[in-house]
């Protein structure tokens, strides 16, 4: 078997005495979509922050295309080809939508002129073109989520980490975003996605990792995981079980 794009190997992240993430291991293969689910506070965002370099793991390793990237800073990882979005969307509010994306484009296209053209391409792809010159602060939540994806895409990543990009969207918008994600997958980008809405995860994921209170409680194909009583109990509440 070829080396997966991303391999998370026994990662532990502790804050003080509290284990926000405890011994999590999974892989994202090339061109795969892996879903990461779990209730609030399960440690999904923490594991994202570890993978994208915001936190160094307390224990365990993270491998990207076979090389150990644990502890590398986010900007180095971005250059290597890991793009991410933030759950609490982080546009640069004082910059225009185009400029927001250009900042990311500069990573692959250091000349401003090229970066601008690249950013336009991205915005066309994600449908934000008409808003290009508006201040990012003026976007509504769906727009911001789209911008968040645009920025990550502008890095031309091989691995995309998506943190709740669908949550908060109405069904139509959600469907469009899912379409977008699938399109990206078809372009060969591997995706790790955190999502609250099970429907999304179940429909698009090749693999699902389930966390609860920092522990990895399940790993497998969506159809298998969804039947796992432990998962149902943890994620949907005891009522649904």
């Amino acid at each position: 078997m070829t080396e997966p794009i991303l391999r998370v190997d026994g990662v532990v992240k502790a804050f003080g005495g509290l284990h926000a993430v405890n011994d999590v291991s999974f892989e994202v293969g090339k061109g795969m979509i892996v879903g990461l689910i779990g209730p609030n506070g399960a440690g999904k965002t923490t594991i994202f922050n570890v993978i994208s370099g915001y936190y160094a793991p307390t224990r365990g390793r993270v491998f990207f295309k076979g090389s150990d990237i644990s502890g590398l800073p986010p900007y180095a990882l971005a250059k290597m080809g890991i793009g991410r979005t933030f759950q609490v969307v982080k546009p640069f509010p004082g910059l225009s939508v185009l400029e927001n994306v250009m900042v990311a484009s500069l990573c692959r296209h250091p000349r401003k002129h090229d970066a601008r053209r690249h950013a336009w391409d991205i915005l066309e792809f994600t449908g934000l073109g008409p808003r290009a010159h508006d201040a990012a602060a003026s976007l509504t939540l769906p727009g911001r989520k789209r911008l968040e994806i645009s920025k990550a895409l502008a890095l031309e990543p091989q691995l995309l980490l998506l943190d709740e990009v669908v949550a908060g969207l109405n069904p139509t918008e959600a469907d469009r975003t899912i379409e977008l994600i699938l399109k990206l997958r078809d372009q060969g980008i591997s995706i790790l996605i955190v999502e609250h809405i099970m429907r999304v995860i179940m429909n698009i994921s090749d693999q699902v990792v389930v966390l609860n209170f920092g522990q990895q409680i399940a790993l497998g194909k969506p159809v298998e995981v969804v039947k796992d009583p432990v998962v149902i109990e943890a994620y949907l509440g005891e009522e649904a079980a």
Partner: protein, 236 residues
Amino acid sequence: MTVLKLVSVSAGYGETQVLWNIDLEVEKGCIVALLGANGAGKTTTLKTVCGLLPATQGRLYYNGVDITGRPVHETVNLGITLVPEGRQLFGKMTVEENLIIGSFLKRAKEHRARNLAWVYELFPPLGIRRNQIAETLSGGEQQMVAIGRGLMQNPDLIMFDEPSLGLAPLLVQEMFRVIGELHRRGLTVFLVEQNVHHSLKIADYGYVIENGRIVHQGEGKQLAADPTIRQAYLGI
């Protein structure tokens, strides 16, 4: 009798409008739930009601009195209490100080001793930890402090913003037990939740909000039974 009434209320942050012409009513002694996905405008609605955010349009009535545009420290004085999302405790103060500050207003101060005793009775762990610094408590205990602090305000209308957020299932049940208990005591409850099962089970009436607009409403049980709602908003 209608305790709270929103008539075509719009609100937002800066240039971003979040709420679009919201109409809703909360009857006295009822539990009313406001449901919706992340970012749909639930928290914004609560903030607008209690005056943390100004309404850009429309009017709000509390017990028939127009409270549009009143700052938060005045609406609170009328008996509207919000238990905010994410606890929002005063992290460096003790549990008891957090509770006492709840009874800062004159209307609550006179009942301070009685309410404090009641809160400790309602949440026994708080009594044990009364001198502990709030930020060192566990999530569930922090939520208890937040609710207790709200009760110290001697409210007539108590609004909860995601009280079950981030709590283990057992604690979620405990929270809903407490909310039920408050309801029995005659308080009017306005509840914002993602945990649809629980909410609709105890709610007398429910509203579903999507992208800042009320898209469905109905009796709690009726909403709970509606499969389209479950599918579209609750993700199940």
